[in-house]
């Protein structure tokens, strides 16, 4: 029997059997890889693995090893043809979720007045959920954590409705326990019992999105379906019979475009109505008793009756529990506490269904849902053959994911990003900033002299605070610029492609392509890089990726590089900058090999990922992100760096008897650093001032430069040699990340890992600096 692994590019096949086991197999089924589905091979990644498949109107990546588990047979005529525009039959507007003539007095069970109405916002990844959430809540958001797991949680109240609380749940494809996001979303809906669900559906991938909708309907919670990206569908000649879809689903269906801010008001009105009056879905039973002899229908209803007392006892929705039980969901089965007789009876019923249906249980349930979805879409959706956005994405992908062009394009794009950041936009803005800081320092200095301020305090303000904090502030434009480009790349959909073609390469070091995202973000800042590992479904991959992010040189180190490159290597600035980044990456790769063979033996997580169409990121989202980043940087400058600056100034200005010193070598600071200096001498960093600066770098990397400026009284260039500058650059690249990053590691992996990262990174930095120092001496750097 042929498998998906062996098909040719452009070939369309029909899935016969889905192999594999456990949660991964269920995930394949939930993504639409079910028996009977038609799948087309679009391309292979440049390195031959993974493959990009097209099914149900969207692109999915799959590794060859996983594709080998799926048996297929050829098809001669594709199902995904353009359907002829159906003759429009007028469906009366059902008016679900509306007041007026659609709501009789006494209908529903209204909530008590004054209740804070709680909503859950649920949808697939890449469906525009974040954009919708931002539209609904504006800036009234709060970011937090789901307790006990490392999954994001965002809450906010709907604009104009202060008595509401909407929770943005992670993007998920089903309610199966494949990933922690799915478990969290499921538990949120079941345990926190929101008053209503807003299910956002991407109409350009409607079949796959409706799969989740059906599972949400089974939960029997008041719900509104928001059909997002309607503008894209209609501009490509498509349409949806909203009334008919609403009637078939039994919940209000509202067309919206979150990006263009259309339909949001109507959505809010419907959501408020169904939530307030607790109007539950009119149907959650989608099995057809005439289809395939009604095997699945009888199985579902039979088991429902068998377990309904147990389900009632645990307070969960019956239909949802029934389908999860048939799918062998261990989390649900455990909760039911069935006795042996019931378990055996259930097994008989399900086995009978499998025998009659000719499919295993999970495939049968997935198939039942997709059949309903296909019938619904056949009757209500007019899809264009191929949307403009998809055509555009295919054309762009010919270059950006082409066999010979993907990696050169990636290097070019990243090179362009860094060039624009450091040499053009960032550099220009940085000069402006520096002029501003210098002017502020000059004016303050004059004011202090005029006010006859004490010399010690004058010294603290000008040579301590202004010099220290000011030298760091000027890097804000560079950092914001880099973040701008990185978020544009991610939100546009390009980073998903990078994950696709980097998968094979990353597998060599024991990771999957998904890990590229946190590693790339690490070039911006280690804190979000560590946090973004939450999207990795495997704990092993997550830990390993977190341990590798410190090797990706973050933007906070830029002030250090820029400072020393300008002072010591002005003609080779670009070469040295690139060299430093590459050194970090190469050291990271070596560390990954070491981890792979020791701490993290085993294979990386399977790589099943959607490739969304390329999209222009919403300006508002990007602007909000950059503002938050700038705000955070300024906050750090005026907190951590201010503290470091003042502390360093104090320790280097006073001796142990609290007398001001004229020579910094007599200060408290010199004494402390002197204890550790012998450890750093072999790597050319035995000067106590350098050591102090590195210690302050633990607070915030940006403060290394400001501390050196203070300790060398502004003449670092004259006091250090090129060799020691080179060693400092390498050590700064690799030693412990800042306290914020370590705190993030501690939150994700615990105290032991956090401490281990500090010690490990310092050790690696020491060893590599030793080697580089020997190389520099050998080539004549002094």
């Amino acid at each position: 029997m042929e498998t998906l692994k062996n098909i040719k590019i452009g070939e369309t096949v029909r899935v016969e059997k889905v192999g594999g086991e456990g949660a991964l197999r269920q995930h394949f089924l939930d993504m639409g890889l079910i028996p009977g589905a038609e799948v087309t091979l679009v391309k292979y990644a440049p390195m031959g693995d993974p493959m990009e498949l097209r099914l149900h109107g969207y692109e999915l990546t799959l590794r060859l090893a996983d594709a080998d588990e799926i048996e297929v047979c050829p098809v001669t005529d594709k199902k995904e043809e353009v359907r002829e525009k159906k003759k429009k039959q007028k469906t009366e507007h059902p008016g679900l979720g509306e007041g007026g003539r659609f709501h009789a007095k006494g209908d529903g069970v209204p909530l008590e007045k004054g209740t804070v109405i709680r909503f859950a916002l649920v949808g697939n990844q890449n469906c525009g959920k974040t954009t919708l959430f931002n539209r609904l809540t504006g800036s009234k958001q709060h970011v937090g954590n789901f307790p006990g797991v490392t999954v994001d949680r965002k809450d906010g109240s709907i604009i104009g409705h202060d008595d509401t609380l909407i929770t943005d749940l992670p993007g998920i494809y089903s309610m199966s326990p494949y990933s922690s996001e799915e478990i969290v979303s499921r538990n949120f809906v079941l345990n926190e019992k929101p008053h209503a669900i807003i299910n956002i559906v991407d109409v350009t991938n409607i079949e796959r999105n409706l799969y989740l909708t059906m599972q949400l309907l089974e939960m029997n919670i008041p719900m509104v379906v928001a059909l997002n990206m309607m503008d894209e569908l209609t501009s490509n000649g498509g349409s949806i019979d909203i009334n008919h879809m609403e009637k078939r689903l039994g919940v209000p269906v509202v067309p919206i475009s979150a990006a263009k801010n259309k339909g949001i008001e109507e959505l809010v009105e419907h959501a408020m109505h169904v939530a307030y009056y607790q109007e539950r879905p009119l149907r959650y039973d989608f099995c057809d008793k005439t289809e395939n002899g009604g095997a699945v229908h009888r199985c579902l209803h039979g088991i429902s009756h068998l377990i309904e007392d147990h389900v009632e006892a645990i307070g969960m929705p019956l239909r949802f529990v029934t389908s999860k039980v048939i799918e062998d969901d261990p989390l649900v089965i455990e909760k039911l506490d069935l006795d042996q007789n019931e378990i055996e009876t259930m097994e008989h019923i399900v086995s009978q269904m499998e025998k009659e249906r000719g499919l295993d249980r999970s495939s049968a349930i997935a198939d039942m849902r997709f059949r309903f979805i296909h019938r619904l879409c056949d009757d209500t959706v007019n899809k264009p053959a191929e949307s403009k956005e998809h055509i555009r994405s295919r054309r762009i992908d010919k270059v950006l994911t082409g066999k010979y062009t993907a990696i050169p394009a990636f290097i070019l794009i990243m090179g362009l990003v860094f060039f624009l950041t450091f040499n053009v936009i960032g550099a220009f803005l940085q000069d402006l900033f520096e002029m501003g800081v210098d002017k502020a320092t000059e004016l303050t200095d004059k004011a202090l002299v005029h006010a006859h301020v004490n010399t010690v305090i004058h010294d603290l303000v000008i040579d301590g605070i202004f010099a220290g904090v000011g030298s760091v502030l000027s890097f804000l434009p560079v950092i914001v610029t880099l973040f701008f480009f990185l978020s544009m790349l991610e939100d546009s959909g390009y980073i998903a492609r990078v994950a696709f073609f980097m998968d094979k390469l990353l597998r060599k070091v024991g990771l999957s392509g998904r890990s590229i995202v946190p590693l790339l973000i690490g070039f911006g800042c280690s804190v979000p890089a560590v946090m973004s590992t939450r999207t990795l479904p495997s704990e092993r991959d997550r830990k390993m990726t977190i341990l590798l992010t410190p090797f990706m040189s973050c933007t906070a180190k830029l002030p250090i590089y820029a400072f020393f490159v300008n002072a010591f290597f002005p003609k080779r600035g670009g070469f040295i900058m690139v060299g430093l980044y590459l050194l970090g990456i190469v050291t990271g790769i070596l560390a990954a090999y070491l981890f792979k063979g020791t701490l993290f033996r085993g294979e990386a997580v399977p790589f099943v990922m959607e490739l969304p169409n390329y999209r222009l990121p919403a300006a508002k989202n990007v602007a909000q992100l950059l503002w938050e980043k700038a705000k955070d940087f300024l906050q750090r400058a005026f907190t951590v760096i201010l503290i470091a600056t003042v502390v360093v100034w104090f320790l280097q200005s006073f001796d142990t008897h609290l007398n001001m010193v004229s020579d910094a070598g007599d200060s408290i600071l010199a004494g402390i650093a002197g204890i550790f200096a012998p450890v750093m001498s072999p790597v050319g960093l035995g000067d106590w001032r350098i050591l102090v600066a590195l210690i302050s770098g633990f607070m915030a990397k940006e403060s290394v430069v400001s501390t050196l400026e203070i300790l060398y009284s502004g003449s670092v260039g004259a006091a250090m040699t090129s060799l020691s500058a080179g060693c400092l650059l390498v050590f700064s690249l690799l030693y412990t990340p800042c306290v914020a990053a370590i705190a993030a590691v501690k939150r994700e992996l615990g105290k032991k890992y956090a401490l281990a990262v500090v010690v490990w990174q310092c050790g690696v930095a020491w060893v590599v600096t030793l080697i580089i120092r020997a190389v520099l001496i050998a080539i004549g750097v002094s």
């Binding site: 937090g144 994001d152 949680r153 305090i457 303000v461 992100l625 907190t639």
Partner: protein
């Protein structure tokens, strides 16, 4: 020491107290880098 010195000392002290409190709070909660889409942010509400 004149009034300007005293004002400056008070201001610097206040800034340091605020900075220390903010840093300790951020360090405990894993620090927020501002990227709400990717960062879990504060675990304390």
């Amino acid at each position: 020491m004149n009034i300007a010195d005293i004002v400056l000392i008070v201001l610097i002290a206040a800034a340091l107290v605020f900075a220390v409190r903010a840093t300790v709070k951020n360090a405990k909660s894993g620090s927020c880098c501002g990227n709400c889409a990717k960062c879990g942010g504060c675990s304390k509400k």
